[in-house]
């Protein structure tokens, strides 16, 4: 029993065997030791498990590990360039865009996906772009501002 899978996670070739019904989130967390993606709901309603799969933002709780063969996955653990934080990460810290921080990895992945597609989003585009990620602490104010600040910096 189990599916043998080869994929690329944060640039590293990985191999794992997982049960057919195991979701990518559990593969990342329990088999690959990447616990940055969180399970807030398990049903695609909170975005805390967001990762980028073949260039598209997805909830890793709604993808099977079995589907990962040959796929490229980006997670929060691969966002910084070594010791240098991604501008989004730096602005989240500087702008106090996190309180408890459990939604933060998902927000950062979603914001990253948004800015890749739209480097100069309006406030409304940011708010709708991040609507799949729930935050209960901040009221989103400082999150939106941090994304605006990072986008500005990234546009140079």
């Amino acid at each position: 029993m189990g599916v043998h899978v080869r994929s690329t996670v944060n640039g590293d070739a990985v191999e794992f065997t997982c049960p057919e019904d195991e979701v990518l989130l559990d593969v990342l967390r329990n088999r690959l030791g990447l616990t940055g993606a969180k399970e807030g709901c398990g049903t695609g309603d909170c975005g805390a498990c967001s990762v980028i799969l073949d260039g598209r933002l997805v909830c890793s709780c709604l993808v099977l590990g079995a589907e990962m063969d040959g796929k490229v996955v980006e997670t929060i653990e691969g966002m910084a360039d070594g010791a240098k934080l991604h501008p989004l990460q730096q602005h989240f810290i500087d702008g106090a865009a996190l309180q408890c921080g459990v939604c933060t990895p998902g927000f950062l992945m979603a914001a990253d996906a948004l800015l890749r597609k739209n480097p100069d989003p309006t406030e409304e585009e940011i708010r709708f772009g991040l609507a799949g990620n729930l935050c209960r602490c901040t009221g989103y104010d400082k999150i939106v501002r941090a994304v605006q600040a990072a986008a500005k910096e990234m546009r140079g």
């Binding site: 049960p19 616990t35 807030g40 989240f92 408890c100 459990v102 991040l130 209960r136």
Partner: protein
């Protein structure tokens, strides 16, 4: 100088670190995915724990047959209430907690735990749950607070006789507590009034909605020692409660707090933690028990649903002559005093000659409720502030002027009894009146509402260790959980006190075996009380540092003073010595008496009450009843804002939660007593596109009860939004909104009454 005596001069002092916006020490870990939350840890050989829960709202548990589950390969333990002998020694409150963790004889709500398993993996554990055969005898149930108080309602507990009545009731009922507050003569007051308004209000049950589900990783050894890694607002409290419930010695149960993914009161009680420990003890292996989101909604502690009647009378000149309210709150399936708290807070913003509140607390077949950020106050404020608004309009006065005229002030006898010292409601109202938001034009279908809120705040037991490292840096061990950035604030306080930079100071959350007892992070006490203890600990460390410098210089310690991060010799004989820095003293610690540290324990009583005023602009679609928040402003007194960004964050977060509650969040129970919407899909917390930027105005009126003038800020911000938003919708639609949440079907229906 006694450590407890406050120096008012400090409040005025010029701070170097306090008030800046430094980066939090856990920031990098949290943006890189390194931070470890409840479900992120693992122990060698750990099992997966899962809980079997009652599908019935109220049922006798006739029999639980676990024999098939026990025999399933891979199952290592199955537990029921039989595995929890009563160690509570007659403590009814602890017994209720135990019974809530695992049903004893009766399931009291949909989701009540009846058994739990530990197995080698989740699939096996799920199979095992299906093999447990529970025979229920279904009993009639009640989930509505007003129905529960009816004389013919099904009674949950035969031992509950209403407390607080002058005559003991002759029969058990769901009405567990009666309370009364107030002063003066309300009947006489209403006779004096030119205008009297009476209204009834309802609010539905909401959940704290933290994004991280509860998770505990427990390991109990055969020798009785145990450890647990858990997300909690108070690991010492969890340690104490779990030790009591399982009959363990507290010193042998070491609890390490994970990073916590939100709590807001929902992680102040144990739920699954005793089950994880009991499973581990029985299986003799570590057990990880993580709740699903559905379990979080069905089986943890949401807040009360309520039913409130308010009556307020006023003269044409705007003087309130009398105010009365009856507040009925359900506390879930065990006794509580949430209505009583609501009764205390209801009129706390106002200076009233005649005031009376009556509270009725009830039990219903819903989960045991927990605190939710200023518990009970938002619902009471919703009912009272709407009535205030209506009275003001009825006598033709601007609602904000009406509030200013009647606002409580220093010397006012509060509606809950005591006379106020200096308080901040007046300044928040004046700031609101002068805020540009109040003068901004409104668009079509828009309305503006403003409302006030009050919360007590408290301090509690706290201790802090400050240690100087041999290289001259500083570590802090604090025992209060950091939910929103308090490690940064605590390090700022110690840096300020020692006169060193923020980067030289680092704070961590110590485990329960490394520090004395600390109360939970609740009641807006985290930063207030921990910074107080940290300041005292730093002062104790300074005493040691002065002593060490004196030894190095071979002069009396009384001739050494500490300023700007260094010891300075004072007096004519020593004045020319070069100051000794923290680093230089630390380097010689071994030769001057050993490690350098300061420790302090405090009970931070007299935290000081807190007030806020909020302004909301709402657009309501008259054809669909949907309301959108277009602009929102929070004005609140923070005392001294240690880290302004985090204070703003508390204001914004509380407002957002209150907005969600006002518009869409609610527990929906079916006729069968089962929760219909135990998921984020249909329990609708605000998403990013639902909200505008939330403007904040921090008033810094120094709190005389803290060395730096700090006041707790975490909770009050959730008190006014239900009222402010509902008054805004009322103004947008022309129909008084009396039922929270103002979901579109409810609002559209209310508009029908207008057309008629």
């Amino acid at each position: 100088m006694s450590l407890d005596s406050m120096n008012p001069a400090l409040v005025e002092k010029h701070f170097k670190v306090i008030g800046t916006r430094v980066a939090r020490p856990d920031g990098v870990d949290k943006v890189t995915g390194r931070a470890r939350y409840g479900a992120d840890a693992a122990m060698p050989g750990q099992l997966v724990g899962l809980v079997l829960r009652s599908p019935h709202a109220h049922a006798q548990i006739v029999k639980i047959d676990i024999s098939k589950a026990v025999k399933l390969a891979g199952v290592k333990a199955v537990i029921t209430s039989a595995d929890f002998p009563d160690h509570t020694q007659g403590d009814r409150g602890m017994m209720d907690i135990l019974e809530n963790c695992m049903a004893r004889g009766k399931a009291l709500y949909d989701g009540h735990a009846v058994a739990a398993v530990a197995a080698i993996d989740a699939a096996t554990a799920r199979k095992a749950l299906k093999l447990i055969n529970v025979t229920y005898k279904i009993l009639p149930h009640v989930t509505d607070v007003d129905e529960a108080l009816q004389i013919h309602a099904p009674v949950l507990h035969p031992h509950i006789y209403t407390e607080g009545l002058s005559e003991k009731p002759t029969a058990a009922s769901n009405w567990n507590k009666h309370g009364e507050y107030g002063h003066g003569d309300v009947d006489a007051g209403f006779k004096e009034a030119d205008m009297v308004i009476s209204r009834s209000y309802k609010t539905e049950q909401t959940h704290q909605g933290y994004i991280e589900p509860h998770s505990a990783l427990a390991s109990v050894s055969p020798d009785g020692s145990a450890e647990m890694f858990v997300c909690t607002q108070g690991h010492f409290v969890y340690r104490n409660q779990c030790a009591t419930l399982l009959g363990l010695d507290a010193n042998k149960l070491r609890v390490t707090a994970s990073e916590i993914g939100g709590g807001f009161g929902g992680k102040t009680h144990v739920w699954a933690e005793p089950l994880a420990l009991a499973l581990s003890r029985k299986a003799n292996r570590p057990v990880k028990l993580t709740m699903s989101r559905e379990e979080v909604f069905r089986c943890t502690g949401p807040t009360s649903s309520t039913s409130i009647d308010v009556k307020i009378g006023a003269k044409k000149d705007g003087t309130i002559t009398a105010a009365w309210a009856e507040l009925r709150y359900q506390g879930g399936c065990f006794p509580s005093n949430w209505a009583e708290l609501g009764a205390m807070t209801a009129f706390a913003c106002y200076d009233l000659k005649n005031v009376k509140t009556v509270s009725k607390d009830a039990v219903v077949n819903r989960p045991k409720t927990a605190a939710y950020r200023a518990p009970s106050a938002p619902m009471a404020a919703f009912a009272v502030e709407n009535t205030i608004d209506e009275v003001a309009k009825a006598i033709g006065m601007d609602p904000i002027d009406f509030r200013i005229k009647n606002a409580a002030k220093q010397g006012t006898k509060s509606s809950y009894g005591p006379v106020y010292g200096p308080i901040g409601i007046g300044p928040t109202l004046e700031a609101a009146k002068n805020h540009p938001h109040m003068k901004a034009p409104l668009g079509k279908n828009m309305g503006r509402g403003m409302a006030c809120g009050f919360w007590f705040n408290f301090g509690g037991q706290t201790c802090v260790d400050v240690n100087v490292t041999p290289d001259g840096n500083v570590t802090i061990a604090q025992g209060t959980i950091d939910v929103g950035g308090s490690r940064a604030s605590i390090a700022m306080a110690v840096a300020e006190e020692l006169g060193v930079t923020y980067n030289q100071v680092r704070s961590i959350i110590a485990d329960t075996s490394s520090l004395g007892h600390n109360d939970m992070t609740d009641g807006s006490r985290g930063t207030f009380s921990t910074s107080k203890a940290a300041i005292f600990a730093a002062r104790n460390a300074i005493t040691v540092l002065r002593d060490r410098a004196a030894k190095i210089w071979e002069i009396p310690a009384s001739e050494v003073e500490w300023r700007d991060g260094a010891a300075h010799a004072k007096g004519v004989n020593h004045g020319n010595r070069t100051p000794l820095s923290l680093k230089e003293i630390a380097a010689q610690a071994g030769q001057t008496g050993g490690p350098i540290a300061g420790h302090a324990e405090t009970v931070a009583d007299n935290a000081g009450v807190s007030f806020a005023t909020h302004i909301a602009d709402v657009e309501t679609d008259p054809e669909t009843g949907r309301s959108l928040i277009k602009r929102y402003t929070v004005i609140q007194d923070a005392g001294k804002a240690m880290h302004p960004s985090y204070v703003e964050g508390q204001y914004q977060g509380g407002a957002a939660q209150g907005i969600g509650w006002a518009l869409n969040e609610e527990y929906v129970y079916g006729k069968d007593g089962r929760l219909q919407n135990a998921a984020f899909l249909d329990y609708r917390i605000p998403v990013c596109s639902d909200l505008p930027f939330i403007d904040t105005q921090i008033l810094e009126i120094p709190n005389p009860n803290h060395p730096y003038g700090v006041r707790g800020v975490g909770e009050t911000s959730i008190v006014p939004p239900l009222a402010a938003v509902s008054i805004a919708v009322t103004n947008a639609t022309g129909v008084r909104q009396t039922h929270i949440p103002m979901s579109p079907p409810r609002v559209l229906k209310s508009l029908k009454t207008k057309k008629k």
